[in-house]
Symmetry: C2
Subunit: 148 residues, 2 copies
């Protein structure tokens, strides 16, 4: 077991490890901006190289993610240890459902994102990453919050 | 154990249950908008009535959450069952660290948000809610994603 760390300890996660963590998880959250206001939705996702791909039906995500700045986040938190980590990818949302360009073709090959059954009209959204960052944090009773 | 549900099943969570879920958890995520781009950060939070409160050091959250639209989200996902839920609160961020108005006084009484140790210069941010919504979803191999 890890020794307890100082309350304010905050450790950056390397880009390589951020991608490893993204590759090892299936559920994350996408943030989009609707009329200047952020919204957050959980999504099942897959990775193709360094592109995050998820599927969605018609709705807010499909209406506001494509061709817009988005953020994608995964995290984990061990309440007993008071330790956690998070990875955030900022990038551009792209509708790759039918586009014939190389990016879209590639994104549709993402592992873990199964083809839609016929008639379900599901759409594929990719996050084309521009910035990735990750942090391990410790949130105990004294700090009350992971440092920003 | 719950019977497996249809792939597309999606169930709204009542406002009352959303607040119950928020009251029963400690870790969530705040989304803010920075130069038109969303960002997501995990935070430990507490509740005071229907106000979400978290603490932060100087940084992005402190710079961009106050007096701005924010979203706060909690979720849980059982990978084995393929079932999960999420609650999202949209509202206005408010810096309640020192403000003397009733809202700030009340927010500083949030349970689970401990006082900062002297000299740590931590700030208290509250989310004044305008919209709350929650959903239970099923994300199996066929749909690949919780419906939006």
């Amino acid at each position: 077991m890890k020794a307890r760390k100082a309350a304010s300890e905050l450790e950056d996660i390397s880009e390589a490890e951020c991608w490893e963590l993204l590759g090892g998880h299936k559920m994350g959250r996408i943030a989009i901006v609707v009329d200047g206001k952020p919204q957050i939705f959980p999504v099942n996702y897959g990775l193709k190289g360094k592109v995050i791909v998820f599927r969605t039906a018609a709705g807010t995500k499909l209406a506001y993610a494509p061709d817009s700045p988005v953020a994608f986040e995964i995290d984990d938190y061990d309440g007993a240890a008071g330790e956690g980590w998070s990875v955030m990818v900022q990038g551009l949302g792209r509708d790759v459902t039918e586009a014939a360009d190389d990016f879209a073709w590639s994104a549709r090959g993402a592992r873990g994102v199964r083809p839609a059954a016929p008639g379900e009209k599901l759409h594929w959204i990719a996050v084309d990453p521009t910035v990735i960052s990750g942090r391990r944090f410790r949130a105990d009773d004294r700090t009350g919050s992971p440092p920003s």
